[in-house]
Amino acid sequence: MTASLTAAGPDAPAGPPGARRPRRRRELSVLLAVVACAVLVLVGSVFPIGAVLSAALSGEALPRYAEFFTSPVDLRILANTLVLGLLVGVAGTAIGFLFAFVQTRLDVPGKRVLHVMALVPVISPPFAVATATIVLFGRRGLVTHGLLGVEYDIYGLDGLVFVLSLSLFPVAYLGLLGMMRGLDPAMEEAAMTMGASRWRVFRTVMLPLLAPGIAAPFLLLFVEAIADLANPLVLGGDYTVLAGRAYLAVTGEYDTTSAAVYSLILLVPSLGVFLAQRYWLSRKVRTTITGKPSGSVHLITGWVRWPIYGLAVFVALIIAMLYGTVLAGGVTKVFGVDYTLTFDHLREVVLGVGREALADTTTLAMIATPVAGIFGMLIAWLVVRHLGRLGGWLDFAGTLGVAVPGTVLGIGYLLAYRPDRYIGDVLVLPALVGGGAVAGGAAAIVLAYIVRSVPAGLRTGTAALSQVHRSLEEASTNLGAGPMRTFRTITLPLIRPALLTGLSYSFARCMTSISTIILLVTPGTQIITSQILSAAGTGRYGVAFAYCTVLTVIVLAGFGVIRLLVGRTATLNRIAEGRQR
């Protein structure tokens, strides 16, 4: 593979004069890598999504659209979904903005604690917040009923917005934090020297500059909220959303055609937002102009900071309370009623019924994580360095895994891989999903894990690669290393922090994913998240909390192992720092 450079050399002048100059072939190894990535995205996302589309646009399905758009029930569901997305988008972005603002612009104590608190929801398992919310703020909630003496019905839109905003706001927070830190302080200083007050600077300079930064997390949260299946399942009550409806169509009514129709309708806003972000918003990003950023940030020291700070602390306290409930609920008999310390729930999870689920989930996630991490980096590298127009498509296909709602992807897997596939009479692909599936459906689950986690690595990888100057890789090939060797020995070590992030994220995502997986589990393969759902669904909150705690511990342990394996030295940072000096 690596010898191609020297091999091509002597051949070139040997051709007969006047003959067509032989075109330089693409490196075989790169070609193989492209093929591998293409196969992964085709099998993992393109084909299943295609299956959904073809089912949703088949002759049999077409009359359903007329039904959908005339049925008040169905229209109600559509409206519910959009309203939920909108409210969560607004609330989550607002909380994220609040935290980022406190972090970057206020002169207050305890900012580090607030930062950590804002990141806690990132690794939290699904249902953890929802279940804790029911226990604290539900009809018999510890706070609502116990302290305030009201019977508050948390099931429905209010509960969903509350839970989803708190679970999803970290994404908005991190994005806005980066944006606010990146703002050239001279911008604000310039406005100040021209006589603008703090409020005016905020209104006329800071907000407009951040506008695209606010739009992006809003859209992201919108999509995540409408795609969410886990929370509506336990907290929706009679507030039905599209994802839940599609899930019900598959699991309750065995009506895959309806499911495909609901999926398509859910796909339209999701993919629309995704495409809008990719092709429109990314171009409108405003960058600061020429010159290095200068000056320093002027923290707000007036009394105004206290109410703002108070608000953030209040939110942080709610988060602390929710996760405290998860922790405490796992080791008490019935949290809120009987606070006797007990290890029954934990025992059931670790040694009893849950043992198999723990082992299965961790094993599958451990298989999927490195594959997803490497493929994420590989696709990023191919797209940034080796492929032109084709790269855009590969990047797009690689990102589809998260652009498409998990429920839709799950339905796609059902449609695509439940039947055995024959060509003629020959079985070419046995069923991957369902009762008699290969390896109890494990293959499909791993594939789904990979496809859902590749995009994170792809993003961080692309960002990291744009920081590594091409000349480093050119020097390597110039010294005789082939492209794959260069990728392995030069590129990958340089973007190791991105790999670390990608792997950690993949692992967390695998362990906590639910919306796709819930449609793929079989009696042969137990998954923790679906166990939590059944525990929470049957009111065994203690067990659900214990699962959540154990799951979180496994995820954190996984982070530690990944860090140990990949190494903590942030090579790229060192390079960047070195350049600044």
Binding site: M194, G195, I289, G295
Partner: protein, 380 residues
């Protein structure tokens, strides 16, 4: 016509206009000190008892190597940084308590800090809108600023659609339209290429002179400081080394640091025999002469004779002489020689060399010092 147009927008701007007392802009820094404290590290004294008097309409440059405290000083004046000690006075009034937005000053930033979400016109109008000037006044002022800064036709462009020079002019226009009493510049030309820099220098200086706005200009480029300033403040390690006109800085440097930082200099160790009004009598390269001297120079105490390379003259001296050419570097417009003498190795620059009298390495030469262009200063 350019700058004149801008001036007419400033009633009371010219020295002859009525109300010029209100426009004065006398800036005084009084023992200004800034100490940066970071936890776990020694406190850093960035600005150390800086005292400076800037006359109305004067153009003063703060010059020094990076880290000398010049930018911090400027930012304290702007109110963007709070001093640890000392005062800033404007027309006699201390303004230490005023936040930046209440100080009648405008700053041109190194990065220009143009608002990317606003057009050229909106950028320039920003300060006027903040001050709630009337609509007509605002429009007139913008029109005049655009015309005088040669920005007509670019009103509706975004800053990122402009060239570096155009961005620079917008930044200047934006600062000027608010009619500040003091203009502050933080290395505004460092992001431009050499040619544009020269043109902008002249432009800034012309407009500043015409409007008579007190200006404080930070740079590390000595050429910029020399060509633009009424007076230069040379700073080092947070302290002022010398405040003087460009010519005095060059020919009468107060310290070795200043002599070395501005241009190139040879230092010859001497012991002045006699010091009086006319200067110090010193002996160097076998010749006794009377050279202008720093007031601190004392007779019979070690001192330096500072000689600029281009003020030395060389002549071939085949029969001996005082030195030998070690190295000759031909630049075209000049030749640089390194000449070994008993007073050390001297740098000599011969401008406009004559091809017939180029000296080879190894040639014996005599070296002549022009006493009027040399200077005696104390060691340390």
């Amino acid at each position: 016509m350019t700058a004149a147009g801008l001036a007419s927008a400033q009633p009371g701007g010219g020295a002859d206009a009525p109300g010029s007392a209100e426009q004065a802009g006398r800036l005084r820094l009084d023992g200004l000190t800034k100490v940066f404290r970071t936890r776990g590290a020694d406190p850093v004294v960035a600005v150390d008892k800086v005292t400076l008097d800037v006359a109305p309409g004067e153009f003063i440059t703060l010059l020094g190597p990076s880290g000398c405290g010049k930018t911090t000083t400027l930012r304290i004046v702007a109110g963007l940084e709070e001093a640890t000690g000392g005062h800033v006075r404007l027309d006699g009034q201390p303004i230490d308590a005023l936040p930046p937005q209440r100080r009648p000053m405008a700053m041109v930033f190194q990065s220009y800090a143009l608002f990317p979400h606003l057009t050229v016109e909106q950028n320039i109008a920003y300060g006027l809108r903040v001050q709630r000037r009337g609509k007509e006044e605002t429009e007139t002022a913008i029109r005049i600023a655009l015309t005088s800064m040669n920005l007509v036709g670019l009103e509706n462009r975004s800053p990122h659609e402009l060239s570096g020079g155009q961005q620079q002019r917008v930044a200047l226009a934006r600062a000027l339209v608010v009619q500040p009493k003091v203009l502050l510049f933080d290395e505004p030309l460092s992001n431009l290429d050499a040619k544009l820099r020269g043109a902008m220098r002249a432009e800034i200086r012309r407009i500043q002179r015409r409007l008579g706005i007190t200006s404080l200009y930070v740079t590390h480029d000595q050429d910029e400081a020399m060509t633009m300033s009424d007076r230069i403040v040379v700073m080092n390690k947070g302290r002022i080394e010398q405040v003087a006109t460009p010519a005095d800085i060059y020919f009468r440097p107060a310290t070795v640091f200043v002599a070395d930082f501005i241009g190139r200099a040879n230092f010859i160790e001497v012991v002045p025999e006699q010091v009086d009004e006319g200067g110090a009598t010193v002996t160097a390269l076998g010749r006794t002469m009377t050279v202008p001297a720093h007031p601190d120079v004392r007779p019979n105490a070690g001192a330096y004779l500072m000689v600029r390379p281009e003020t030395l003259s060389l002549a071939p001296a085949p029969m001996g002489g005082v030195g030998t050419v070690l190295r000759a570097t031909f630049h075209g417009h000049s030749v640089d020689y390194e000449v070994e003498t008993n007073a050390g190795t001297l740098a000599v620059t011969v401008p406009g060399p004559d091809p017939r009298t180029l000296l080879d390495e190894g040639a014996n030469v005599s070296v002549a010092i022009d006493p009027a262009r040399a200077y005696v200063l104390t060691k340390s």
